[in-house]
Structures are given as structure tokens and as C-alpha cells.
Amino acid sequence: MLTILFDGIAYGMLLFVLACGLSVTLGLMNFVNLAHGAFAMLGGYATALLMNRCGVPFLATLPIAFAAPAILGVALERTLYRRLYGASPLDQVLFTIGLVFMAMPIANYFLGDQPQQVHLPLFLQGRVEWGGVGIGIYRLFIILVCGAIAAALQMFLIGTRFGAQLRAAVDDARVASGLGIDVDRLFTITFAIGCGLAGLGGALAADVVGGIDPTFPVKFMVSFLIVVTVGGSNGVLGALLGALLLGVLDVAGKYYVPSIGAFIIYAVMVAALLIRPQGLFARSGGR
């Protein structure tokens, strides 16, 4: 049972890294970015290709899996996303679905529709028994890395000037810009970090989900959205708790009641939206 809890936490941590960028986009600019998964796919592909074609070691590919989507994110944000900030949610949805529709054939065209596998280095393979609980070493690695990222993000948000500006802008962008905060620049940087984290998440997730393939953006779009809706769209903590809840429920649900499978997490999402439309773990009293 503890093993399942452990796997669930590892999966939840992964979802957190994948989705936290989306939660900021949604919270800061009220922007529905359904194409978030495409950035995660890019990160996953970066790692898989560098390892399989160039022989770069796994750990060395991770910074690139972060950087590539972050750079693409800045480029797209500057040129395209920017034009749609004031637009209706319908236009934003259409635009980002369009991007997803473009990203999938591009990946298919260059890399084919077979999943690209990420082969873990030896020291991350295998399991250890620890007090009767079987622990996958890679799962442990994921929890450590993602936990460190979550902690770093939280410190960054709480402790730095940039973080304070970001929190102010999420609470009320208009007042924040009235106080002289450059919300545009803030958003570009945050968007880039979010895309980068998605890419890193994609790279880390490749082994867990059985390789990266061109349908990745659509397959995981729903999971991201659930994390954001359950966690609420402000703050690292909400997204983290949402992701953990989802990860544990998903893994436990598939193990204990396989007959209803993914039904549980969808039901949780709809229920969460009905009870607290602003997110289960959101601070009350916000917008």
C-alpha cells in the first residue's frame, strides 16, 4: 500500500512540474493555454533525441530540456500569445487548440509516430526495499528533483523581489502595473520559466509514461487542466497539493478499482469545480 502511495506521490510531483507553468499563466493573465503540453513534448523530445542520437548522458540533457521550450516559449509569447491577452476565452481556446494541432503533425513529420524512449542510466534503475516498502529508484529521484523544484519556486516567490511582484500581479494585474510593476516583462519571464519546467517535466516523465510520442500534448492536456482546476491558479502550494492529490488518486484508483479507471480523477475534477470554482486549495477572498 505504501508503495502505491509512493508511486502516486512521484506521479503527482511530475504533474506538478508539468503543470505549474500553466497555473501561473492562468492566474496571471487569465489565459487558457491548452498548448502547454506541446512545450512538455518538446522537452521530452530534446532529452530523448540527445540521448539516442548524440549519446549525451541523461542528466546532462535535462538543462537543455528546460532551455529549449523556454526559448520557444519566449518567442511565441512575444510574437503570438501577446496579441490574445485581452481576447475572450473562446478565442484563446481556439488559438491554442490550433497550436496543438500544428505541434502534433510537426513532431510526427520530423520524428515519426513511434514513441521516442528515454533509456535511464543504470544508477537510476531498479528498486530498493526499505522497511518493507518497495521503492523505485527513479521514482525517488523524481520526488527529490521535483520536490527541490517546488521548494525553490516557493522560496523564489516568497523571498525575492521578482516573486513579490509576481504575486502582486497575480492578485491584481491592473493595480500592480499602476504601482510601476512591468507586468508585461514579468509575464514573459514567467511564461518562459513555466514552459521550461513543462519541458523538464516532459523529459522526466518520458520513462514513466512509456516514451514521448506526437499525441503527448492532447493525452496530458486533461491532467494539466485537472491539476490547475483542483489546485487553484495562484501559488505554488495549491498546484502542488492539487497535483499530489491527483497523482495519488490516479495511481491508487487504477490499482484498486481498475474497473472504473480514469473515471475517478475526472469525477474529482468536476466535483472540485462545483464545490470551489476557484480551486480547492486556492486562498479564499481572491478574485
Binding site: 490574445l84 500544428m102 513529420y109 479507471g261 473515471f263 475526472y266 468536476v270
Partner: protein, 330 residues
Amino acid sequence: MSGEAARISAHLTRRARWGAGEIAFWIGLVALIFVAPSRALLINEILIAGLFALSLDLILGYAGIISLGHAAFFGVGAYGAAILASHGINDPIVGLVIASLIAGLVGLASAPLVLRGSDLTRLMVTLGICLMLGELANKNSWATGGADGLSLELTPIFHLFPIGFTGQRNAALYSLAVLFLLFALARRIVQSPFGLSLRGLRENRLRAGALGISAPRRLIAIYALAAVYAGAAGALVAQTTQIVSLDVFDFHRSADALLMLIIGGTGFLYGGIIGAALFIAIKDGLSTATPEYWEFWIGLLLVALVLAGRERIGARIAGLLPRRARGSAA
């Protein structure tokens, strides 16, 4: 009756008349099926997609309810028709009516959930409901056949005209008849005072409320009606292809309907049908040219449409039409 009320009522009556262009449109559709029987399969697909897009237009274009999971009702209709057929109700028309009503009930039940909260919440609730239903269909394979799907055995319509692979022209005519009847009903509804009040709600909920129009009941009614329409489209797909599988609940299906509606224009009943025709023609053309990558061009079109401002394009096209056509199109 005061002068103002008489003026409005005269305006409504005038708008309710079928224009010559509209009559020609429908006669043209019938003629098309007879002229090009070899393309009946494609025409049938367009008609059904048009009905599905019309259904989405009822909630999106007329009531301003945004949905990413409209395929939920499409799927319920399709599985409804298939399950009825596998339990001995083999008459297509009876199956279609019952399946659409079931979809309508699901719509009625889910409407209060969907109508809460903001647009963002709505997007995710609709998507979530669609996924839940898809997962239900996947896991309850005793009823739905699970991943294998279900095939349908149907009696001919009126015991005379077989539909399906042996009667593709009949199938297209059947879909056209259903589309026309439901279209005429939708046309009547959107031009009724009820339809006008919906548009008032879409434009400004607060002001409409101040005029004494209560939102929730009207929105629930139109949502359930749209679910009936989507269910009918799903039932038609199941009956004319004689097979249903889990892809009726696909996210793609909801997204495609949205796209058709955007291409054809929202808040305009012919928009869904025209959009479906254009979308499927584009898709058909592209997928023969580049079978694996046609989605890219669809995505590009979508991005371009949004960036160019779809409202502005729509207004410019409407500006080209003669005044009278604009009045009846609105």
C-alpha cells in the same frame, strides 16, 4: 398593443419568412445527393457534422455558453442508438428519437453543473463531463462493447429504404431530412421571443436581468435542446455507418465542431452547415494530399483566423451581403 410591441412583432414575423436563397439552399442539397450519388458518403458526413455544429451554435452562438465537451451528447446519442438496436429496437426513426431524447436528458441533468461559474470553469466542466462519459462507455463493455465498439442491425426506413453501406444515398437523404426538420425547428426557436431573450442574455446578462429576463431556466432549456440535437447527430452517425466506437467521445470531435462553427460563423444557423462543408472539404482535400499531416494546416487556419480577428472577418463578409439577406441571416 402599443406601437412599439406591434413594430417588434411585425419585425419578427417578417424575419420568420423563408427567403428564396434559403429555399434554393435546401433544394440544392437534395439535388446534390441525386447528382453525385458516388459522393453520398461524404455528403452524409457533412450533413451530420453540420447538425452537430448547429447544435453547438445553439449554445455558443445564441446563448454564449462555451463548451469543450459537446461530444458528450454526440456520444450518448450514438451509443443510445447502438444499444437500442442491439436490444431489438431496429427501426432507425424510433431509435433516433429515443437516443436524442436520452442525450437531451443527460444535457438537462448536466446543465446546472455547466452553467455555474465562469467561462474558464465551464470549459473544464464540459470537458470533464465528456471524459467521464467516455470512460464510462470504455469500462462498461457489457453494454457498449468497450474498445471493440458495437455494430448495428437496422431495418430499412419505413421498411422500404435500407440505410448504411448498401444504401448510402438513402442514408444521406435520411440525414438530410433529419437535419432539415431540426434546422426548421431551431430557426423557429431562435426567432421566437425565447431566442431573442437568449441573445439578450448573451450580450449582457446584467442588463437582461434588469429587463426581467431570468437567466438560469432559459439557459438550461437551450442547453438541453442543444444536447438533443447533438444526440441526434450522434445517432445518425451510428445508424448510417452501422458502427459506434469510443471515438465518438473524443476531444477531437468537440474541437472539430468548434472549428467548423468558427469557419462558418457563430450566431448564424447556416454557419454550422457551411462550416462543416468547408471543414470536411478541406480535410478531405488535405488528407488525400498529406494523409498524416493535414491537421497542421487545420491548426494553421485556426491560428490565422483568431489572429486576424474572426469577428472582423465575419463582419466584413456580412457587409458584402445585400441588406435583406443580412436581416434574415442574423
